[in-house]
Every structure is written in structure tokens, then in C-alpha cells.
Symmetry: C2
Subunit: 230 residues, 2 copies
């Protein structure tokens, strides 16, 4: 043992250098008050978590990687989220909850279904399929089974409300004879191609690209084409 310069040098290989660290932190680290910076950190962590979770799945994601991507030390994650699962749940909650309002609002304007269907397809493609929300839904589908709490939350706060909104619209339309009763019983049939699009996009896009807009259009044409029998 050589005492050398430092008296008790048992574990001091710390601190790279203040300068190096200061220049590394991402946006939100510099901003105004504590509040603002804190919120920025939280966002950065969520964004990084989205990348990592959707690339690797829940189990295979390392919080070290999330931290690195967020420009933050691992410990910092634990200042904002209780644990890994909590971070995961919060991510899904934050991404999907806003959808509900948008869709419920759609039912308010009492349009003919054809026009409504148009809008819904557009909404789906622009706000879900072409955004990170598609990844989050893929995560929900992939991991939901092992997080019953999360599945329940998602069913209660998102799915059931979307289904209820769709039923309300469809019931009115059915009363006008615009759609068959079957759709009121199974609104899932309307959304089904959306699910196909999301799953296909994740798995087979590279082998056989799918023109989602065209498929959705074909689907609503099929459903709402005028029929001979009532």
C-alpha cells in the first residue's frame, strides 16, 4: 500500500470533470427555474424510455441506456420514477390518454357516418400510425399481458371510452339506416384494420409494405357501401 498523495484513497475514482458534464446535459437542463428544468428532465427521460422500450421491449431495456440517451445519470431516473415498471406505465399513460378526448370530441359533431369515417381514418393515420403512438400501442399489445394493472388501466381509461364513443355514433347512424346493427354490437370491426396496420408495420413492413391509407379507405368503402337488404 502506498499512501502517496491522497491520504485515504480507497474509492475516489469519481467526477470526470465539471466542464465535461455541464456541456453534456440536453435541453431543459439549462432553462429557467427549478420547476421548468425538472419538467424538462422528466420529458427527456420519457422520450429516451420510449426509444429504448419500443426498440427492445420492457425486460431487455437497460435503464443505463435510457439514462445515457436522456443525458442523465441512472440515479436521476429514480428521482422522477419509482422504478422501471413505473416509468413504463407512466410512458404509456402519457402517450395514450390524450387520444380519448380527441375521439370523444368527434362524436359531438353529428355528421353522416361517411364523413365521420373519413375523418377517423385521417385521424388514425396522422395521429397514431405515423407517430410514436403506434410504437406505444405495440408496446401495450406486447407487454400488456404481463402487466395486468396496465392492461386494466388502458381498458378502463382508453379503450372502453373509445368504444363507448363509437357506439354512440354508430347507434345514431344505425337509427338513420346508415350502418347495419352489427357494427353497433362490434365496433371492434371498424377498428380492426387499424390494429392490422400497427402490427404489420412493426413486423412485416420491410418484406411487404402495406399502403395503410388505401387499405383503410377500402375498408370503409366496404362497410358503408349501400346495400340491397336493410
Amino acid at each position: 500500500m502506498k499512501p502517496d498523495k491522497t491520504p485515504a484513497a480507497k474509492k475516489q475514482p469519481r467526477r470526470k470533470s465539471a466542464a465535461a458534464r455541464a456541456s453534456r446535459a440536453g435541453p431543459g437542463a439549462r432553462g429557467g427555474g427549478r420547476k421548468a428544468r425538472s419538467a424538462g428532465r422528466r420529458e427527456a427521460i420519457l422520450a429516451a424510455a420510449l426509444e429504448e422500450f419500443s426498440a427492445r421491449g420492457f425486460e431487455a431495456t437497460r435503464l443505463d441506456d435510457v439514462a445515457k440517451r436522456a443525458g442523465v445519470a441512472k440515479g436521476t431516473i429514480y428521482l422522477y420514477f419509482r422504478d422501471k415498471e413505473s416509468l413504463f406505465q407512466e410512458l404509456i399513460r402519457a402517450m395514450l390518454t390524450p387520444l380519448v378526448g380527441t375521439i370523444e370530441a368527434m362524436g359531438a359533431a353529428d355528421l353522416p357516418v361517411a364523413a365521420l369515417a373519413e375523418r377517423i381514418v385521417d385521424l388514425f393515420v396522422r395521429e397514431i400510425f405515423e407517430t410514436r403512438r403506434a410504437d406505444v400501442i405495440r408496446l401495450m399489445i406486447s407487454e400488456g399481458r404481463r402487466f395486468p394493472k396496465l392492461a386494466e388501466f388502458y381498458y378502463r381509461e382508453v379503450l372502453s371510452r373509445i368504444i363507448a364513443a363509437m357506439r354512440a355514433i354508430l347507434r345514431r347512424a344505425a337509427a338513420r339506416g346508415e350502418v347495419p346493427q352489427a357494427l353497433v354490437d362490434f365496433p371492434q370491426l371498424i377498428a380492426a384494420p387499424g390494429l392490422v396496420a400497427i402490427v404489420w408495420g412493426g413486423l412485416f413492413e420491410r418484406y411487404e409494405p402495406l399502403d395503410v391509407r388505401k387499405m383503410m379507405r377500402a375498408h370503409i368503402d366496404l362497410l358503408f357501401a349501400p346495400r340491397r337488404a336493410a
Copy 2:
């Protein structure tokens, strides 16, 4: 070194007792020749793997648990499968490959689509939805993204062939005016509710049960109902 009874007794706290082990091994362990027993073991491991993988997902599954469930030591798994991933791929391959033939055979009998649709719904419910194959498809959906090899295999050997078979059927039906052209372009639209059924079954069944047969029936009624415009 003492020759003694055992030559090298460096670490020998092994072997519970021959009797204990003999009475533990499951079916297939006793049977006829080496071949038969070997095949039995393989089956037992695959069955156990199905249980564990579909309950926990790929990453979270421990091979110790698979071994225990199969009534086998962990090392034995490595006599039959190269590694964990290999076991996983083999499981999916073994469960889904047989489907192709069945579905391709369906196209052979040149029935009217309505009758065919009937049969296909029945096939789906009985041979997929109500069996372990549904779990395997859920696994494929959940994990496929992180196993591109597996996704490609599945696309090439299963999906693309099923789609091709469906297209052949639909093209004939479209020529007879039984279905709209759109379905030939997007056979996915026919299968979409099947995907919904599988995903729903895994995530939300307990919160809102879904009558799959009824939904599928409603779906084919919608698609094949007689239309005013050609």
C-alpha cells in the same frame, strides 16, 4: 491422491438417489427405444416452453423453470436445442407451420365464398383461437420485432402463403362478382377481426368478454352482404 473406491472424489455431493430420479421423469421417459424416449423429451420441453414463454414472454422466461416443468434438468434442454432463442424459434415454427397446408387445401375446393367464409371462420375459431396456437401467435406479435429472423421466417413460410391462397380464392370470387375487388387487394381486411380476437383475448377478455364467433359471423355478413352497386 488416494485411489480408494472413487478415483477422483474432488466434488461428489451429487446424485439424490436413482429411485427418486427414475420415478420423476414424465411420460416419454420410460417408453420404447432411445429414439422414442428422445422424441418424448423434446416434446416435453417444447410443451413446457410454450407454457412459460406465453406466460412470461421471451426475456422473462427462465430455462430453469422450463426444465422443471418438463421434468428434466436444465442441461438436457441444451441437448435438444442450441440455446434459448433456438428453443423459442423452434416452438413457433412447430406450432404454426402446419396451418399453411390446411388453409391452402381450403382453396382447392372451388366453393362459393359464402360457404368458404363459413368454413374459414370455423377453422379459425377451432384450430387457432381455442388452441395454444393463439398463444403462439401472440408471442409472434409480441416478440417478432426483436427477432427479425423469426419474423422473416414467419412471413415467408406462413403469412405470405396464406395471403397468396386467400388471393387466389378471392380472385375467382371477384370474377364471379361475389366480392368486391378491394378484398383481392387487401386480404388483410378479411383476417383483421381474427387479429382483434387474438389480441383482445390476451389483454381484455377478463374486463369485457368478446363473443368471437358472433363477431366473425357479423364480419362476414357485412363483407358478403349483397350490394346495390357492382
